[in-house]
């Protein structure tokens, strides 16, 4: 029997996660040297300056928005929800990859996730920050945003608990809190590593504070592992609930093309899809710049592509269901909406959406494409564009509402575009700071799945 067990590796090839037989030390070294580096790479400065400039533009434009009101956007009647809601859904969706990688893939024992989970989680947090900007500024009077929170007040006024927008505030808020906790708990052992390696007193104190006195003792690890499992359990329903709630913003209404029962799972699949695309875009760049090709291996990238293939196909399934049921319903308005999407004034957006979200991931059926880094890089960007357009197509259903007399064509203004691009700048500003000062790969987790971590490592296979 033992010979059979040894042969297993040949077919079930996932046994070897990291080629080149890295040691614990080499993993620590190749990850820690990035935040420890004395000199910041020039490329980092270039990217950071651009991102910071864009983030500055975001702040300036939001300032003007507060001064002038949301009339500076292209929103009008009937399209009261313009780019802001599109961007909100897009950013929240992108955040989902971090949570599925750290929570669901953890519960599913997918050990390859260890090389990407840390920065995917960081991406989640930054994406949620960007997402939260949009509904906050879209309310118009951002200074009374706290009214969304239910709190006792002398006017006895409460938010409308039956409003999906309120659920959003709770869902996304919970999501942010849990993701942040999960990310931070995961960081503790690695922060301790950086503390122990620090040669600079300030760094030592700062990493020391944030590593919460981690010593790596047996009891600490036991508590840590349990906390990790519990947090994974808590985060798993969040993967599904957050975007389901976001989908109810649309689906609880009676707007044709919005009110359809498949929306919650369809939005979740789309969120995971776009999130993985963003992780892919970032990891292809980061592994190259920081020489992490031996940790973020081609095998890991290939698996991410497979997840994109699966979730992209689920999204395609949802499009098909919407279209079929729109016909099957016999409801003229519903039918019109879908025909209008495909052939109306926004047909260009619809076909961008279909080609990027349904057709592009089909490339990953072929091993040649899903292992080719240029292909996956371009595909991941196209998917993110496609997913933005998906939300755009959904929102633009408003342009052709029940009253033909109010039909209009929505065009964004410079402020719509500027704030959107600015939010991308903010995202990259935060992300680049993270890359510079934090361990971007979960060292302790990668070490945990190395063959050396097996207590029986080095023992002969017993007969």
């Amino acid at each position: 029997m033992s010979s059979q067990a040894e042969n297993t590796g040949a077919v079930y090839t996932d046994e070897i996660l990291f080629p080149g037989n890295p040691t614990f030390e080499s993993i620590t070294e190749s990850v820690s040297r990035i935040p420890e580096a004395r000199k910041t790479p020039r490329a980092w400065w270039v990217l950071f300056s651009i991102s910071l400039a864009l983030a500055g533009m975001l702040v300036a434009m939001i300032g003007y928005l507060f001064w002038e009101g949301i009339g500076i956007w292209g929103v009008q009647i009937p399209v009261g929800w313009g780019w802001a809601i599109v961007n909100f859904v897009w950013w929240v969706g992108i955040g989902h990859a971090g949570t599925i990688i750290s929570a669901i893939l953890f519960l599913l024992r997918q050990r390859w996730r260890t090389s990407i989970n840390r920065f995917a989680e960081a991406m989640t947090i930054f994406a949620v920050i960007c997402a939260l900007i949009f509904p906050s500024i879209h309310v118009g009077r951002a200074w009374v945003l706290y009214w969304t929170m239910p709190f006792p007040n002398q006017m006895d006024l409460w938010p409308n608990f039956r409003s999906p927008l309120l659920w959003d505030a709770f869902a996304v808020g919970t999501y942010f809190a849990c993701s942040f906790m999960f990310w931070y708990v995961g960081l503790i052992p690695d922060l301790a590593t950086l503390r122990d390696r620090a040669i600079n007193r300030i760094k030592k104190i700062l990493y020391g504070i944030f590593s919460l006195g981690w010593r790596g003792g047996n009891r600490q690890w036991r508590h840590y592992e349990l906390a990790y499992l519990v947090l994974a359990g808590i985060s798993t329903p969040l993967v599904l609930s957050v975007h389901s709630i976001v989908s109810t913003d649309f689906a609880t209404s009676i707007v044709p093309g919005w009110h359809t029962t498949i929306f919650p799972p369809y939005f979740v699949a789309g969120a995971i899809f776009s999130g993985f695309a963003m992780v892919m875009t970032l990891s292809v760049i980061a592994r190259k710049i920081y020489n992490l090709e031996h940790i973020i291996t081609p095998k890991v990238l290939e698996r991410m592509n497979l997840i994109m293939l699966v979730t992209g196909s689920m999204v395609g399934y949802s499009y098909a269901m919407e279209f079929f049921i729109a016909w099957y319903s016999g409801n003229e308005i519903e039918q019109f909406t879908f025909i209008n999407r495909a052939f109306g004034p926004y047909a260009w957006a619809y076909w961008i959406m279909i080609s990027c979200n349904v057709l592009v991931p089909q490339l990953f059926w072929f091993k040649r494409f899903r292992t080719s880094i240029p292909v996956m890089f371009v595909a991941s960007i196209l998917i993110n564009i496609g997913m933005w357009f998906e939300r755009f197509v959904i929102v633009m259903s408003l342009a052709r509402d029940y009253l033909p007399s109010s039909w209009d064509y929505y065009s964004p203004t410079v402020y719509d575009v500027g704030i959107y691009i600015g939010s991308i700048g903010l995202f990259f500003t935060l992300f680049l700071l993270f890359l510079r000062f934090m361990p971007m790969v979960a060292m302790s987790e990668v070490k945990g799945v190395l063959p050396q971590a097996d207590p029986h490592y080095g023992e002969k296979a017993h007969a």
């Binding site: 297993t8 040949a10 039956r162 389901s244 359809t260 029962t261 929306f263 919650p264 269901m321 016999g330």
Partner: protein, 394 residues
Amino acid sequence: MQVDPKTYRVTENSKVGIIGLIIGIVGLALSGIGYMTDSAQFFHSYLVAFFFWLTIALGGLFFTLLHDLVQAKWSIVIRRIAESIMTVLPLMALFAIPVFLGIHELYHWSHADVVAHDEILQKKAGYLNVTFFIIRAVVYFAIWIIFALLLYKKSLQMDKTKDSSILVKLRRISAPGMILFALTSTFAAFDWLMSLDPHWYSTIFGVYVFSGSFLAVLSFIILVVLYQRHNEVMRQTVTVEHCHDLAKLTFGFVIFWAYMGFSQYFLMWYANIPEETVWYLHRWQGDWKDISLVIIFGHFAIPFVVLITRAAKRSFPVLLVISVWLLFVHWVDLYWLVLPNLYNHEVHLSWIDLTTMVGIGGVFVWYFWRRYTSQPLVPIGDPGLQKSIDFVNI
């Protein structure tokens, strides 16, 4: 029941197959009488029973497709059970014939005079007509049977040749199989269940039926495993660890099912459009309200609470009770989908409900058991077998 521990072949079979066959024939014969006494009741009960067992067979197909596609290791020792379940699909194709015969009793849209007075049904006539309905059913079954038999054949081939390259072939087959499965099972649910109320529609309906189907097959697999343990065979091969994982999946899909059910209900409740809410209204009037509550609590709340702890997932008595219960509520769920079509306000449980269930079920179990025990009980040619046997949850 005796199993050779080396070859995993059954040396002395239990009587479960024969008993199943006898019960099945008796059940079908009694159902025949039911047909003569009350044909409308018979066809509705029959559709529920047929769909109950069909969802298990399809669940087996899905389990196998998924296993082969992702090349899971822990479930190798369970794979043969799922594979044997899906080989019942040709038999289920035969059991579909009475549904075709009862088409006019079951589906309003099949009556030309009804359609003539119904504007909405006229629009749907291109899809909802008898000829196309039967053609689609034949296509669904053809696809299911082809994939089921192909995967089964390849898997048996691996038993003999020990050729691990077959794993790659299984994966190649199951990838397109998965896509076709998603589409065919969805449209089968639309055709056979959703079109019972031909005005009503829901985009999530296919996924809802699928989630119940996968839950049912997981319960069925757990029962087969427990039956083997009861007979003191395969205890060293299919261990508590595999049961634990099956229970985790069951737990996950209890939630997934509720998620689907809730998404559908909630969005319709909120939007409050009469053409959608009428479907739930029928299921919230009179006795049907009780059945709805049984589903909410029985299909979600109770199994959710019971399965939440690790200890429960590893306890054989708990798994036995919860699997039987989940199969029962799966039947209630299908009953709740179909029977309001016949009885608008009151629930009329009929003896035909029982006879059709055990009739098809008995023959199903016999056929499954014969297939299952005729081959090694685990895929002995799979190079990951030992890993799967040694699998432990940490």
